[in-house]
Symmetry: C2
Subunit: 444 residues, 2 copies
Amino acid sequence: MSAASQARKRLDRDRLEIVAFERGHFTSYSACGIPYWIGGAVKERDKLVARSPDQHRDAGIDVRMRHEVVGIDLDKREVVAHDLIGGGEVREGFDHLVYATGAVPVTPEWASIPAAGIFGVQTLDDGAAIHDWLDREPTPQRAVVIGGGYIGVEMAEAMVLRGLDVTLLEKSPEPMAKTVDPEVGALVRKAIGEMGIEVVTGAHVEGIGTKDGRVREVLTPGGAVPADIVVLGLGVRPNSALAADAGLPIGVTGGVRTDRRMRVVGVDGVWAAGDCVETRHLLTGDPVHVPLGTHANKQGRVAGINIGGGYATFPGVIGTAVTKVCNLEVARTGLTEKEARRAGYAFVTASVESTSRAGYYPGAAFMTIKLIAERRTGTLLGAQIVGRTEAAKRIDALAVAVWNRMTVEEMTGLDLSYAPPFAPVWDPVLIAARKATDAVHSAM
Amino acid sequence: MSAASQARKRLDRDRLEIVAFERGHFTSYSACGIPYWIGGAVKERDKLVARSPDQHRDAGIDVRMRHEVVGIDLDKREVVAHDLIGGGEVREGFDHLVYATGAVPVTPEWASIPAAGIFGVQTLDDGAAIHDWLDREPTPQRAVVIGGGYIGVEMAEAMVLRGLDVTLLEKSPEPMAKTVDPEVGALVRKAIGEMGIEVVTGAHVEGIGTKDGRVREVLTPGGAVPADIVVLGLGVRPNSALAADAGLPIGVTGGVRTDRRMRVVGVDGVWAAGDCVETRHLLTGDPVHVPLGTHANKQGRVAGINIGGGYATFPGVIGTAVTKVCNLEVARTGLTEKEARRAGYAFVTASVESTSRAGYYPGAAFMTIKLIAERRTGTLLGAQIVGRTEAAKRIDALAVAVWNRMTVEEMTGLDLSYAPPFAPVWDPVLIAARKATDAVHSAM
């Protein structure tokens, strides 16, 4: 819908007719907000909806809800959709096509069973299904969240807030293993544990046990974990099957390949944006799939501007992410150690502990910042932050530094803001840059 | 003391003897913390002291307290100091001299009168004098703060917190006129006013009326403002008189001139750091005097590393600053409109209002971000932020962008962190970059 809105802004109805097909019940909603709605911090579902179908229609976008597109015919330049309510097939021609199908949850075979109480968390329809289930079922219930990535962790917290007994199963040694390095993951594990969530790591789920068509337990080599509800947080993959069927190019990550204007590579008049596309990591140059609302919105906007006759580009990503886990703020940008190693970098690391405000100022809270810098050049490759308050958003300054390929030594001179209510006289970011500079020198 | 500590780290006592002269009673304290101690947020004076003279002595630095250096003899390579307690004169030779005398408050002739109740706010000794006065005198008292820069505003707030009736006199049309553009200053004025501080702008102070050797009123063309205590917040200038007397080079700003290693220009073995030096604005290339603890600490560290045989540089500043005014956070980086105009830039501006968190997430607070971008190139020249909470530290991402001469258009693609507890899906910084990009395009 970002693409549609941007195109509409630039070209009026006489010049561009816009039709949007949506399989589900909602448009323009914040999928990232689902855990907070389920947990109760956000009171109403509709708060998550930035723009309803009717609002889009008022803006001149012909939204066809509950229509599932099942085919794209590039030769005839038309799409084929099923009307999920009225039934029947709809064909719609196009000059420009925007492929924005998002992602689908990774669902192992053992999770694809016809039993009540198994949920993914991808669409607002998914979220609504969980919300309904929690409202309907008697408490306390036992919830098992499978997957300790940020969606899994956020959902585990939401379930605890709703009064459930929660077990989080993660196959890696620490939660958030794809997001942060293990020692940072250990801090996350501790914070989750303190909230009363049972965290089981190294847990390889083998199946889900059911009874009378309902979930009963999750089976692991360590034993069965009782479960009234199972939430799958095993990550997502690009929803690119339809694109592949139509012959659109699919990259190594499974996402649709586009250029920086979000044009599908080699196919005139076809665009793609959001969690269904593959993008580029600006440090490594590698193709990556990073399903995040902020990228999706930027990409959609870029596609829409270009369709509307403007010029805009989406250059790629550097892996910035942030989340709130219980009372912990966790953020990252650039590469983790594992990612840097995989990309072939030799690097040094430095971790510092400092405070969010001047030590003497009320409310100063501890935080840890870890930097990863290339050996020899000292180029900042990545950063991770863990803290209690006012910590995580500091990742943005580090993200801009990564974006600009700064060295940690140059960063020691950065003119960052200082006043006692906001930082120690050496901001934690600067202290980290100093220590990383020392590490670079020591490794010369 | 930063320089001393860094040099000590690198060279032991056998290789480097370090003597430090201090006129006052304190070492290594946070001058920026004084308003918070006076206002009561910081309970004890000694919380502001990072390292006492004895701690420095334990670290191998021979600190001579209450010694005022009155002369530097570059030919003999010695300094002359007055022992303010024991009396008499001390001469001390040097191989390296670090000139770190800080700044002195701007004190017009009308304020240089022998009357009780007039205070500057530069040293911890100054702060202690105000604190003592407030403890001693009966309340309520009427305080007049002269000067609406950030020190003046912070002191006005501190006085209100101590139960005084406070009037803030500022000669410009809005407070913080040197820090932010007038429309941002107007928001500051509003916040101060809501706290019960009377703000009089366009107020040209003509004198201070006294009675029985005590302050009685502040005289302005608009009438006399009753005052039991007067706090001067008229800014500071480099304390470079001693340097000038010794023949050290003084720049156009009145600060000692150094190179990027903090060596005094043209004088071997003499270094300078802190509020007494002139530095360089990295955008305009102009010499500037920016007295801030964060610069002073960086410069001292750089001098100390170089004296210790290492290599470090202080490249200059870009004008980043932040302050908390009552319940308002105010931050800036780069150039204001006035500064940009003076430097000869043609520019466009863009202001946006957005929220600190996703609009639906509890605690989302409004903030305004203003960007200034060069016409044609779109290079980010400056940014200002005003908000309630979680707003001001966003200036750091913008500071790193200014530092790296990013264009606002490139900034629209920046991979900043997003999650509902920390930002809307478009961070306010990105929204501002988008609007500034539109402004640049419109002005082409």
